[in-house]
Amino acid sequence: MMLCKLSFRNIRKSIKDYAIYFFTLILGVAIFYVFNALESQTILMKVSSSTNDLIKLMMTMLSSVSVFVSFILGFLIIYASRFLMKRRNKEFGIYLTLGMSKRKISFILFFETLFIGIFSLIVGLIVGVILSQFMSLLVANMFEADLTDFTFIFSSKACIKTAIYFGIMYALVMIFNTYSVSKCKLIDLLYKDKKSETIKLKNPYLCIILFIIALIMLIWAYHKVAFDVKRVLALVDIVIPIIVGSVATFLIFWSLSGLILRIAISIKKYYYKGLNSFTLRQFSSKINTTVFSTTIICLMLFLTICLLSACLTIKNSMNANIKELAPVDAEFVVSLNMDRDYDYYRGFGYNDNQIKNSNSNVTERFKIFDFDILKYFKEYIEVNMYATPELTMNNTLGSKLDAIRQSFPFLAYDTMEPIMKISEYNKVAKLYGQKQYVLDKDEYIIVADFESMVKIRNISLKNKEDITLFNHTLKPKYKSCMPGFVEMSSNHINTGIILVNDDIVDENYIYENYLIGNYNVKKEEIKNLENKINDLDNSDKANNYLLPSGSTKLSIKEATISLTAMVTFIGLYLGIIFLISSAAIIGLKELSESTDNKERFKMLRKLGADEKMINKALFRQIAVFFLLPLTLAIIHSIFGIIFEIQILEIFGKEKLLTSIIMTAIFIVFIYGGYLLITYYSSKNIIKER
């Protein structure tokens, strides 16, 4: 009974001092619940079966990420609780001198962990359930589901999972605590805190040399990931710079810890102003022993920034891409005159009849399937693409072909180039809300938006390569590819369409027919309509005729959204966990220092320092410890993001600034929140009773 009461008292006392620890535990539980409850939220949404499969994949991914997250949180909790235990050495020493057995002390700790565990689980789950209601908004927004019928969602599965995972973590904490109690020696418990840490001043020359070496290593690593990325294909190409960068980070903090004080002391005007000398001494006495943890925190923050900005970029770009790249409801296409390239199409698995019967356009083809597609369109256009073996990429690249072939040996240079009449392209562009073009006599334009193909084509266009088409010699109007596309998709994948004047096109070389437009059916019925169209492929006609294939806004959305959602959720999940872990570690460290510093601040008061000065000194001290790793992490991240941009090229980088701003907001809120809580709790600790 007494033991129970003791542990209860201990918690009540430490709740005030270690608010951050409880706050982090609750946040950890809440976030764990929120991301594991996603499944029950997506279940409620009416989605197609293909989307459903992707959601299942997403949940599997999130589950495995959860295991990883629980490792991080487990590490954090064990670290924090061992840390808090160290602060209580004296207390345990008293228990032992009073003749309490180590087993009983373990019991006290067991009760404490149990109380804290149950308390944080319950509060965390309540917070999680509330947060997950907001999460539904985000989920609905992602999957573009209607949220008219908002329901309160509680996932018992996620709840049980959270309880089990955290139960295991707390059990581990109990084992660790018992172990460290059984290991400790009474004399150390009673007198350890009297042993003052010896402050070794590091050799300044060694510091300077190491600092320079670290800088060189960093510059090399930055260069490798940010500007030499062309060859980064294997994992090892990115892992080595990261390892080098991590070592450099450690060396920078190590050498800085030795240098800062020396530099500051030499600037006497600054050093002896106000409490500066005190703050600096405080700082340097600690940074010596915290170099390693500062490094780890810096790297975690770096990861957080990169993760958050990458996942937000993908999300924002994907959404923007869909708006831009799938501007209308539907686009249907059929290949025409397939018999001309009989063997080529056989390679795609089309049968003889399908190939022979390929001379009707989209509307006619649907009629053959007894389906009047035009009935469902509010507005539409019909355009054609042409292609001739006379014009392949070999021809468009012209004299630069050999040079390009050397750098890119695997491109299909024999593919026929798609050709469009300028007037028809402009019709599409008008419908899509894209730029329309004008051509003079004997000119051509290439529209393309697939970045790497654009680069290749621009080499030739810059060189003003002429092409010969249907007995006309055409010269390029622009020195580079122009933006534009015909086929709707989720990404920029148009490798190039040659636009030419209408009058030179030979109608015999018609190759594809497009029907592009907006439906006249209601939004809710689009799904049914498209299912009906897809079902046509099961009719007997399909044996002899090829059904036009469609890229519709809805299908593109469904395919990309799940991927986007997966990336976003995993990124957010890990990012937030990394962020709170690192902030919590610094916060706890600073708080426990404040307990030590209580006497020193008392002394300052006796010397006549007023509260304002003391608070300023305290705030500076805490802020520096929070901002030091963040500053280096931000510098790292600049290069990390440059690397990301190149990797995420196909997703588009237009939205990068938005996502960087959003990442910054995240960090300011969470990290800044931790800083402030730490400051106010520390102020409370050093306050005189």
Partner: protein, 255 residues
């Protein structure tokens, strides 16, 4: 008379083989039941180490320590815990009270660890509080008390279990002279009226003058031993001062 504590040729070394420090060097003495013994010595003479090894806070390198005939250097695990909670009482220079508990609860804790009945606990706590004159602070938390009050609460906690031996490490070190005098008078009362055996480490001659015997330690060895006998405290104090002068060193600071 029975010997309650027998220290038999103990040695305590610190450090590695290359730089060995002998904190205690072949030291032996005995304390009889009901004695009030003070151990004096300059800083670094080994007096605190001596107290630590007697109190089982630290271990000896060689030799034996018997408390009531039991070799405490051989105690381990639960026997050690039992020994600490039933036969020893500790008083520290910095009190070592638990600041989450009130004075009453701090004293009661020593008993509740022994699984004493709650009614008995209440009775005993009130009794010891009366003897040490701390009845009015029983409901207070340590941070609400003065240094002298805290040390008397700590002393109450040390003796409430009726230990065979009370060990005190610089009990007056953190107290002003008035509080120190009051505490020492309580020690005398405990020693004379309750027959408590007290072993106290101090560097303060005034504090030591309350004891019935003073053992002086130098370089880990016994330097001199003086008994109070029938002397008044004042004469005994002067005798102590004479030895301190002989010892030299920073003990003079205590004056």
């Amino acid at each position: 008379m029975d010997s309650i504590l027998k220290v038999d040729k103990i040695e305590k070394y610190y450090g590695s083989r290359s730089s060995l420090t002998k904190a205690i060097d072949n030291l032996s003495f005995e304390v009889e039941k009901g004695e009030f013994v003070a151990i004096m010595g300059v800083s670094g003479s080994g007096k605190t180490t001596l107290l630590n090894v007697i109190s089982t806070i630290d271990s000896v390198t060689s030799g034996h320590i018997y408390v009531d005939g039991k070799d405490v250097t051989k105690l381990k695990g639960n026997d050690l815990n039992k020994f600490r909670r039933e036969e020893l009482g500790f008083i520290f220079q910095d009190f070592n009270l638990l600041d989450t508990l009130t004075a009453y609860e701090n004293i009661a804790l020593a008993l509740s660890i022994q699984n004493v009945n709650a009614y008995v606990i209440d009775e005993k706590v009130k009794q010891v509080a009366k003897e040490l004159d701390i009845k009015e602070v029983l409901k207070k938390y340590p941070y609400q008390m003065s240094g002298g009050q805290k040390q008397r609460v700590a002393s109450a906690r040390a003796i409430v279990t009726d230990p065979k031996l009370v060990l005190a490490d610089e009990p007056t070190g953190a107290l002003d002279s008035k509080s120190a005098k009051m505490l020492l008078e309580r020690f005398n009362y405990l020693n004379e009226s309750l027959k408590a055996t007290i072993l106290m480490v101090t560097h303060d001659a005034f504090t030591a003058s309350y004891a019935s015997r003073v053992i002086f330690i130098k370089d880990g060895k016994i330097f001199k031993e003086i008994h109070k006998g029938d002397d008044t405290r004042k004469i005994f104090f002067e005798k102590i001062i004479d030895v301190v002068t002989l010892l030299g060193g920073d003990l003079n600071d205590a004056l």
